[in-house]
C-alpha cells in the first residue's frame, strides 16, 4: 500500500472515528439535560473574569463566593490566563454545558462574547455582566463600578490637585479596545474641558496592554518623549503599578504626579514612598459580592432589568436598577475609594 493511500485511509479512519464518537454517544445525551430553574433554591453561578491570576479578579471571586454563601448558592470562579475574548468563550460554553443558572462575566470584548452568551441564554442561563460590559442584548443587567463619569472626573481631580492644576499630563491605559478604559478616558477628556483644569494639557494616551512589561516600557517612553510631563493617570491596576515602579527607579517621584486606579496591596509601598500619593479604586470584594447578589435576584425573578426595581444586596444595603452613563439597566457599586498614606493600611486587597 502506498503512503499516499495509507494517508487517505488514515484520514478516512479519523473522520469515521470522530463521527462514531459524536453519533454513537447520543444515548448519553439525555443524562444531564436541562433542569428547570423554576423553584430551585440553590443556584449554580459561574464568574468568568477577563483573566485569572490578577488580584482584582481574585477579589471579585472572593466577594461573589461570600455572597453565594449567604444566599445558599455556589459560585465557580474560572477564566483564561490572558485577557483575550476568544479565550473566554470556551469558558462560557463549558459553563453552559454544565447547566449554569447564571453566568457573571467581565468581558474582554463586549461583542465577541455575545454570541456565546446568547447560546447560553438559549440553554436556560441568565447573564449578568460586571466591570467590562457586554452587548446589551446578551445580558440582563450590568453591574457597574462607580459611574464612568465619576471615575473619569475623580482621576483628573486627583492628578490636578497634585500639580497645581497646571502642566502636561498623559494617560497610560490598558488596550485601545477595552470598553471601560475608553469610556473613562472619554470622561477624563470631558472633565479637562472644565475651566478649573484649563491649564492642564493631555499630551498622550499610551497603551500598556494590561501587561507589566509593556506598561513599564510605555511609561519610560512617556518620560523620554515628554520632558515637561507633570502627571500620569493610569486607570488600570497593572499600568499604575508598573508606572510607579518606573518612576521610583528613575527617581522621578517628586517631579511627576502619578494617580490612577490601583490595588492597595500592590500600591502600598509606592503610596508610602510618595511615588503615587493618591490612588483610587472601588472595593473589589464588594464588587463581586454585589454582582453575585444581582445574579441571584435575576434568577429568582426579583430583578428583570426594569429601571427602578430595588433589592437588598446583603451587607451593602438597598440598591436600585438605574440608567448610568447612558447605559441601562445598571446597578452601580458606589463612589470611588481613595487610598493615601493615611488610609492605605486599612485595606487588604
Amino acid at each position: 500500500m502506498s503512503r499516499k493511500r495509507l494517508g487517505l485511509l488514515g484520514l478516512a479512519l479519523c473522520i469515521a472515528l470522530t463521527a462514531a464518537l459524536v453519533a454513537g454517544l447520543t444515548a448519553s445525551a439525555g443524562r444531564a439535560s436541562q433542569e428547570t430553574a423554576a423553584q430551585k433554591k440553590n443556584y449554580k453561578m459561574f464568574l468568568i473574569p477577563k483573566l485569572i491570576g490578577v488580584n482584582v479578579f481574585t477579589e471579585n471571586g472572593k466577594g461573589a463566593k461570600e455572597a453565594a454563601k449567604e444566599l445558599g448558592d455556589t459560585v465557580i470562579y474560572n477564566g483564561p490566563t490572558e485577557a483575550v475574548a476568544a479565550k473566554q468563550v470556551p469558558f462560557i460554553n463549558t459553563a453552559s454545558q454544565q447547566g449554569a443558572d447564571a453566568i457573571i462575566i467581565s468581558a474582554n470584548d463586549p461583542n465577541a462574547v455575545a454570541p456565546a452568551l446568547k447560546r447560553a441564554v438559549a440553554r436556560g442561563a441568565k447573564v449578568v455582566s460586571y466591570d467590562g460590559d457586554v452587548a446589551r442584548d446578551a445580558r440582563t443587567i450590568f453591574v457597574s463600578p462607580p459611574s464612568a463619569q465619576a471615575i473619569g472626573a475623580f482621576q483628573v481631580e486627583w492628578v490636578g490637585s497634585q500639580i497645581g492644576y497646571k502642566g502636561e499630563i498623559a494617560i497610560l491605559s490598558a488596550t485601545p479596545t477595552a470598553a471601560n478604559q475608553n469610556t473613562w478616558i472619554k470622561f477624563m477628556k470631558a472633565a479637562l474641558k472644565k475651566p478649573k483644569y484649563r491649564n492642564m494639557k493631555l499630551v498622550k494616551i499610551a497603551y500598556g496592554n494590561d501587561n507589566p512589561t509593556d506598561s513599564a516600557k510605555e511609561t519610560q517612553a512617556l518620560l523620554q518623549g515628554y520632558p515637561n510631563l507633570k502627571g500620569i493617570i493610569s486607570p488600570t491596576t497593572v499600568g499604575v503599578a508598573a508606572a510607579a515602579q518606573v518612576l521610583q527607579q528613575e527617581g522621578k517621584c517628586k517631579s511627576i504626579a502619578l494617580t490612577g486606579l490601583g490595588l492597595p496591596n500592590e500600591m502600598r509601598k509606592y503610596i508610602k514612598a510618595g511615588c503615587a500619593k493618591k490612588v483610587g479604586l472601588w472595593n473589589e470584594r464588594d464588587f463581586g459580592y454585589l454582582a453575585a447578589y444581582v445574579a441571584h435576584y435575576v434568577l429568582d425573578g426579583t430583578l428583570t432589568g426594569k429601571i427602578g426595581q430595588t433589592f437588598k444586596a446583603g451587607r451593602l444595603g438597598k440598591r436600585t436598577v438605574v440608567v448610568s452613563d447612558g447605559n441601562r439597566p445598571v446597578v452601580v457599586l458606589g463612589d470611588p475609594l481613595v487610598f493615601t498614606k493615611a488610609n492605605v493600611d486599612k485595606f487588604n486587597f
Binding site: G7, G10, C14, N78, A85, A86, P90, Q97, A114, P176
Partner: protein
C-alpha cells in the same frame, strides 16, 4: 502474515496513531472528570471555538513542511478581518468585502513569501517583523472598538449551526483539512514541499522551482489566515484590530503536536487536525471540571514537551539508535521518512548520497 504484522507495526508507530490513542485516553479521563463531557452537544461543539486556530494551523503546516516558519498568521487574520469590516461598513457588498478580505490576506502572505523565497531572508526574522507591522496596520485600518453587526449569511460560516446542533465551522474545518490534505499528500506541489523541506539545495538541483514554491506556501498560509478570519468573525461576531490576539501559540502548538517536523520535510495534515482535536478536547475536559486556567496551560505545555521528546526519541531509535542531537538536516531526513511519521513521498534519490 509477516507483511501484515509489519504493516500493523508501521501503523502503530505512526504519529497519527499515537494522537488517536491520546485522544481516546483524554476522552476517558475527561469522562471521569465531568459527567457533562460525553453529552452530544458538548462533543459537537468541542472544536468550534478553536476552528479558526485549526484553519491557521493548516496553512502554517505548508510553511513548516517546506522548512520555514510563519508567525505572522494571527496578525494577517486581524488585518483581513478589519479590512472586511471596514469595506462592509462603508457600504460595499458583503460578499465582495469577504473576497477582498481573502485577497488582502493572501497578499500579505505573498509579501512574506517574496521576502523569504525570492530575497532568501530568514523566515523567522521576516515574519517576526510582519507580525508587528501587520498588527499595527490592523489598528490603523480600524482603530477603537470595532464593528459588530454583520449579516447572517456571512456569520453562519463561523457561528451557524445545522439543525441547531452541528456547527458549520466544524464542517468548514473538516472540508479544508481534506482539501489541503489532498494538495499536500496527492499532488506534485505537495511532493515538492517535502523535498524542499528536507534538502533545499538538492531540490534546486533536481529542477524544482524552489523560489516559486516557497512564495506559494506563504501565500497559502496567508489565504488560510483569511479563511480563519471569516470563521472568527462568524463565531465571535466581532471585528477588531486585536482579533485572534494571543492565538499564535495555539496555532504553533497544533502544528508541532501534529507531528510536523519543525526542521521541515515531514508531517501530515491529518496529524495537525488530530492535534487540534486533542488540545480542544483536553481544554474542554479540564474546563468542564472547572480546573483553573493556569493549571490547564501547564497540562498543555507538558503534553507538548512529552510529544516532542517522544517523537524525537522514536525517530532517533528508528534511525538505528542515532541520538537526536546528532540529527542533521538533509542527512537524517531520509531516516525521518522511513520512520513513517508522515505520508510524504520518498525523496532519497534527490539526496545525492
Amino acid at each position: 502474515m509477516k507483511r501484515v504484522l509489519l504493516m500493523a507495526g508501521r501503523l502503530l508507530a505512526r504519529w497519527e496513531t499515537l494522537l488517536v490513542i491520546a485522544i481516546i485516553g483524554v476522552g476517558i479521563w475527561s469522562t471521569t472528570l465531568s459527567p457533562f463531557f460525553l453529552l452530544r452537544a458538548n462533543l459537537l461543539d468541542l472544536l468550534t471555538p478553536y476552528a479558526f486556530i485549526g484553519l491557521m494551523a493548516f496553512g502554517l503546516a505548508f510553511v513548516v513542511i517546506a522548512g520555514e516558519i510563519d508567525i505572522s498568521v494571527a496578525s494577517i487574520l486581524a488585518v483581513s478581518v478589519v479590512c472586511f469590516s471596514q469595506l462592509y461598513d462603508k457600504g460595499l457588498n458583503v460578499w465582495l468585502a469577504l473576497v477582498a478580505g481573502l485577497v488582502v490576506a493572501t497578499m500579505l502572505g505573498c509579501i512574506n513569501g517574496v521576502l523569504v523565497g525570492i530575497f532568501d531572508l530568514p523566515s523567522l526574522a521576516i515574519t517576526l517583523g510582519t507580525l508587528a507591522a501587520y498588527q499595527g496596520l490592523a489598528y490603523v485600518i480600524l482603530p477603537g472598538e470595532g464593528v459588530a453587526a454583520f449579516p447572517e449569511g456571512v456569520t453562519k460560516f463561523g457561528g451557524g449551526y445545522v439543525d441547531n446542533e452541528l456547527p458549520i465551522a466544524l464542517l468548514v474545518l473538516v472540508a479544508f483539512a481534506i482539501a489541503l490534505g489532498f494538495v499536500l499528500h496527492a499532488t506534485r506541489f505537495g511532493r515538492y514541499l517535502y523535498t524542499i523541506g528536507s534538502n533545499r539545495e538538492a531540490a534546486r538541483f533536481a529542477g524544482i522551482p524552489v523560489a516559486r514554491v516557497r512564495v506559494t506556501v506563504f501565500a497559502i498560509s496567508g489565504f488560510m489566515a483569511g479563511v480563519a478570519g471569516i470563521v472568527y468573525l462568524g463565531y465571535f461576531g466581532s471585528a477588531r484590530a486585536d482579533a485572534a490576539q494571543g492565538s499564535l501559540l495555539d496555532v504553533v502548538t497544533a502544528v508541532v503536536l501534529g507531528g510536523i517536523d519543525i526542521f521541515g520535510g515531514s508531517g501530515s495534515m491529518l496529524g495537525v487536525f488530530l492535534a487540534l482535536v486533542l488540545v480542544a478536547e483536553l481544554r474542554n475536559g479540564m474546563q468542564l471540571a472547572n480546573i483553573a486556567g493556569d493549571t490547564q496551560n501547564i497540562v498543555i505545555g507538558v503534553l507538548l514537551l512529552t510529544a516532542i521528546v517522544v517523537g524525537n526519541v522514536t525517530r532517533a531509535i528508528q534511525a538505528r539508535g542515532l541520538p537526536s542531537g546528532l540529527r542533521r538536516k538533509g542527512v537524517i531526513a531520509t531516516a525521518t521518512v522511513t520512520a513513517g511519521l508522515g505520508t510524504e513521498p520518498e525523496p532519497q534519490e534527490l539526496k545525492g548520497r
